[in-house]
Amino acid sequence: MSTATPTAGKPAKKAAKATGLTWTIADADHMTQAEIYGEVLTQAALKDGRVVALTADLAKSTKIGKFEQKVPERFFNFGIAEANMFAVASGMAETGLIPVVSTFAVFASLRAAEFVRTDVCYQKRNVKIIGTHSGTSFGQAGTTHHCTEDIAVMRCLANMTVIAPADARATAKAVEAMLAHDGPVYIRIGRGFEPPCYKDMDFEFTIGKSNLLRDGTDITVIAAGIPVLQAVEAADRVKPDGVSVRVIDMHTIKPIDEEAIVRAVQDTRRLITVEDHTVVGGLGTAVADVIAKSGKGCAFRKLGYQDEYSIVGYPEDLQHRYGIDADGIVSAIGEVLKQDFEQDEDWEDE
């Protein structure tokens, strides 16, 4: 687990120039997750002729349109037809290309699920998938366009790596890591209006290694994606009351950072997971699997959509309603701190 300092609060007012390993991004403070990935991909494609982009009539919505302008000969729009697009990506990968498929999370993970499974994962094809508008980030579009199941679906596919970056800066690093990784990768991002969590580019982003954003001893909040910033805000809010909260950005849900989870169980004995996703099969389930395997007792709560379909509304209203914003996390912290659980006898700290 690497450490980093997040910004809890408003985005920085001054535009900053952020430099990655192979690309340069201007105005990282004001670019959204989606704009950033479009930019990073375009830069990568200009340097690496193997990178090709595929979309299904969502070039504008998924912000991959920049790629189309700069590298038109390696940009392919398949119209509103996702299944074939993933099959084509698999075939392109056979020729040594690195196809990056971009569409809404709900279509990548559900409509085209069998193509992702059979043509990409089963055949170990080097195809990259970026699911945008995940969770309820496209709140007003309604439940058909929400996607609260993609982590669960993608996580259960063998050979797949699943990443949910917390903000635009993390997305830039995630895209870079994705391109360097050999094998299928799924990155889920929001619609692109989310405030930044990381204040600059000075942090590690390694697939499978979580980031420690706040250290703490009373309770641990493990979050992925947009709720990471909310977890940081919640931690800062309860701090004056003397509650010491550890916050972990579990940006890679598969393979998950087991070591960080077991250490959190050992150190804080109380854990909360937060995700913009159903609590069935997502981050919370992945963390619960690790806790169960460790054989150690702890108080545990999963925040997310509780096996239900999300209602229509503004994303921030929905995050509040379903308890995955800072308010919801603060309440859950209070409840889990009071929760009884069976303590192990043989732990060295007892």
Partner: protein, 275 residues
């Protein structure tokens, strides 16, 4: 027109492949033998006359690719690959057995010479388009051949693929539809009609060649016509007979999938020898 000796060479090879399909089916307890028989002549023309491949180098980057989109014809494809020398024939003795690399639908990561793992219908067609587009993008000259089942054309994704190829025009791709007119539950025109199949592809922007899929002159002529086409992707509707070569299997819904006992095996081999 093929020279008589060339025609006979291909016919003899097709007969040998069909005999092998019968023997493997007998040994493994059952296979999708009907469709394996109907596709055989197209596979023989491709593998024994046209494809630029090297069985010693199954990963050779410039090899022609073959995708059996109707993956249930895998038993027939495996027999061809064994005969070409991709692996030893005796490995097929374990076909379908627990732990064998060979199941009904071939896995590219387990079987040398298989370019795409297929089985679920409506996938291989799109994969072959990706390979053909990839050849163009990477500046390679290889060709891609794909065999789609006619029942497979019930799948919506086939028409997504047909539409995409009509748009991107990969002329280095040749698609065959094994038009044996049967799917699992019965004749295609009763289960879910496909005709006019040629008109459907034409309206999606394809050049359509409709041939007798058991006539090597016609198959070879179609392949050469496809090679010469520079404007549109080519689909060859190979009109075939399900169970071709085995008299008691031909055009029988029941022989979509089946096993053979000693008596049936002997009769099947006799029938193929006469064909």
């Amino acid at each position: 027109m093929l020279a008589a000796a060339e025609r006979k060479r291909l016919q003899d090879k097709a007969r040998a492949i069909r005999e092998e399909i019968v023997k493997v089916t007998y040994a493994c307890g059952g296979s999708h033998i009907g469709g394996a028989m109907s596709q055989t002549d197209v596979l023989v023309a491709l593998y024994y006359k046209y494809m630029r491949i090297d069985p010693a180098r199954p990963d050779w980057e410039d090899r022609d690719r073959f995708v059996l989109s109707k993956g249930h014809g895998g038993v027939g494809h495996a027999v061809v690959l064994a005969d070409k020398g991709y692996f030893e024939r005796k490995l097929l003795d374990d076909f379908n057995k627990t732990g064998s690399p060979f199941g009904m639908h071939l896995d590219r990561l387990k079987v040398r010479g298989v370019d795409a793992s297929t089985g679920s219908l409506g996938h291989g067609f799109g994969i072959s388009i990706g390979m053909a587009m990839g050849a163009r993008l990477t500046g390679r000259q290889f060709r891609v051949y794909c065999v789609v089942g006619d029942g497979e054309c019930h799948e919506g994704s086939v028409w997504e693929s047909a539409m995409a190829a009509g748009h991107f025009k990969p002329t280095n791709l040749t698609v065959f539809v094994d038009r044996n007119r049967f799917c699992l539950d019965g004749p295609t025109e009763e289960v879910m009609p496909l005709d006019p199949l040629d008109g459907k592809f034409e309206s999606f922007g394809w050049r359509v060649l409709s041939i007798d899929g058991h006539d090597f002159d016609a198959i070879c002529g179609a392949i050469e016509t496809a090679h010469a086409e520079t404007a549109r992707p080519v689909v060859v509707i190979a009109n075939t007979v399900k169970g071709k070569g085995v008299d008691f299997m031909e055009n029988q819904t029941a022989w979509h999938y089946g096993g053979l006992d000693d008596r049936m095996k002997a009769r099947a081999l006799e029938s193929i020898a006469r064909s």
